[in-house]
């Protein structure tokens, strides 16, 4: 199966432009991480890529075919998002099993045995009403639906929000297992970056409605550095490079550098350390003016 592509996607709500001319190609058979601040446009982008939200401008195709209202394309996709515990009419009185049976009805490759296994694993009572679930159980249900869908392209929107660390580790293990076994494509958006960073073969960073990079995680981190030392020495060493989030303390300065290619060295006068994905993301997306 080919690529899920979004071309020139723009989405506006009234005067608000949530996505600006976004171009993205998702190659199948990889685990992607989608990271971005709240309000950056992650959920909007994901729901547009899955035809659950219409674009204001731009097209979404899977294997060259438009995804919108397309049975063939939709049959390969699952977008499991946060389940709302309230509806406009009051609490969401649908039960977990209603969600599971709807998933069974609509996802072509739904694996019911796997779903039942996961329900037991996460200790969920399927007869419970969604409005009565804890945050952790709510996240677990979205995970179960995503995994049991057995969709070729499975997208999870903040699946670990609300999960405690034990459940999170459980989740990562499940994804690795599924991926190792089936090679399904996963796109996982998360705020808990560092834990999941080693899971992502490719990472997509979105900020303010624009994708600022889509890259192989390792290759990205291979060209990111944390350069520190005396202020003048640092400024000299990083001249010509793209620098983010400079911080000063006393006569010392620390900057995050993202070079075009891996750099052999920055000279003897400064210290160079590698940067973790979370810290790189922070450096690139922190709004310097509003920094607390």
């Amino acid at each position: 199966m080919g690529t899920l592509s979004g071309k020139n996607i723009t989405k506006t709500y009234g005067k608000d432009t949530v996505l600006k001319n976004v171009n993205i190609d998702i190659e199948t058979g990889k685990i992607y991480g989608l990271i971005g601040r709240n309000g950056a446009g992650k959920t909007t982008l994901l729901s547009i890529l899955t035809a659950q939200n219409p674009t204001t401008e731009g097209t979404v195709t899977l294997d060259g075919q438009p995804v919108w209202e397309n049975e063939e394309s939709l049959s390969h996709i699952c977008y499991s998002r946060e389940i709302s515990q309230v509806t406009m009419f009051g609490p969401n009185t649908l039960k977990v099993k209603d969600y599971l049976s709807t998933g069974k009805a609509f996802y072509k490759n739904w694996d019911d045995d796997y779903a039942k296994e996961l329900v037991k694993l996460f200790n969920i009572n399927p007869k419970k009403k969604v409005s009565k679930l804890s945050k952790g159980m709510l996240s677990a249900v979205t995970i179960i639906i995503a995994l049991a869908s057995k969709a070729d392209i499975t997208i999870l929107d903040e699946p670990v929000a609300g999960l405690d660390v034990v459940a999170r580790e459980q989740f990562y293990k499940l994804v690795i297992e599924e991926y190792a076994q089936t090679g399904r494509t996963f796109i996982i958006s998360t705020h808990i970056i560092e834990e999941a960073a080693s899971l992502f073969e490719k990472v997509i960073i979105i900020d303010n409605g624009e994708i600022i990079l889509t890259e192989n995680t390792e290759e990205l981190l291979a060209r990111a550095y944390r350069v520190s030392g005396e202020t003048e020495a640092v400024d000299l060493a990083v001249e010509g490079f793209k620098v983010y989030h400079p911080e000063s303390i006393g006569r010392n300065k620390v900057v995050t550098v993202l070079a075009e290619e891996p750099v052999a060295g920055f000279g003897e006068d400064v210290q160079v350390e590698p940067v973790a994905l979370q810290n790189l993301f922070y450096a690139m997306c922190v709004d310097e003016r509003k920094e607390a």
Partner: protein, 213 residues
């Protein structure tokens, strides 16, 4: 019919049957209540049957309206989020509503004919048509609520209020409303069908651009 369409249709068919199931349970509970509350033991059976028919006719319209309003924002949104197509959802809603209405209609027709309440037949048919129309209107209201918020619920409240006032007025003024309706069934059905078509079309248009909430 494509595979996805078939699965959608089946899903909505089951939804319609479940709605009927709830109706049956509700009526059963009410029957018990009427039985216990009745003071005139002589015509108890007839009384209960009349109550069942009267409530049945009202519920048919009311519940179909309510479920239709819930659709766009809640139930249909869920289905959309699981990869259903908007056109299948549109068709599905019709399947669900018609299943519900037809099941209700058949049951009440059978009851009224077998218990000698034949005068109810045109009423039941009108109610079925009314329920279908209410469903179409309900969907449009549902979409508007989705877009503009709960305020639109007031529209229903006002409409329901007006109907209530209208009903009580006719009683006070001793207008035989049911009698009037009985005589113009043909016309009423025609108007209702036209309105139904218009609202369904509107609903289809609104649905084409819908997104998952």
């Amino acid at each position: 019919m494509s595979e996805l369409s078939k699965r959608s249709a089946k899903y909505y068919l089951i939804q319609g049957m479940q709605m009927m199931g709830i109706m049956v349970v509700l009526q059963a509970i009410l029957c018990v209540e009427w039985f216990l509350m009745a003071d005139d033991r002589n015509n108890l059976f007839d009384h209960i049957i009349r109550m069942v028919l009267m409530c049945g006719v009202m519920f048919m319209i009311l519940f179909n309206l309510i479920y239709a309003v819930y659709g766009p924002n809640w139930l249909d949104s869920l289905v959309l989020s699981m990869g259903a197509r908007r056109k299948d959802i549109f068709v599905g809603e019709i399947i669900k509503q018609f299943t519900y209405i037809i099941l209700n209609t058949v049951v009440y027709l059978v009851i009224s004919v077998t218990t000698g309440n034949n005068i109810w037949v045109p009423i039941i048919i009108l109610a079925a048509v009314g329920a279908a129309l209410a469903g179409a209107i309900g969907q449009v209201i549902g979409f508007k609520i989705k877009k503009y918020g709960k305020a639109y619920l007031f529209v229903i409240a006002i409409v329901a209020g007006c109907l209530g006032v209208f009903a009580s007025l006719t009683t006070v003024l001793e207008i035989d409303l049911l009698g009037l309706l009985r005589n113009r069934v043909g016309w009423i059905i025609v108007i209702a069908v036209v309105l139904f078509g218009l609202f369904e079309f509107w609903s289809y248009k609104l649905g084409q651009k819908s997104m998952v909430m």
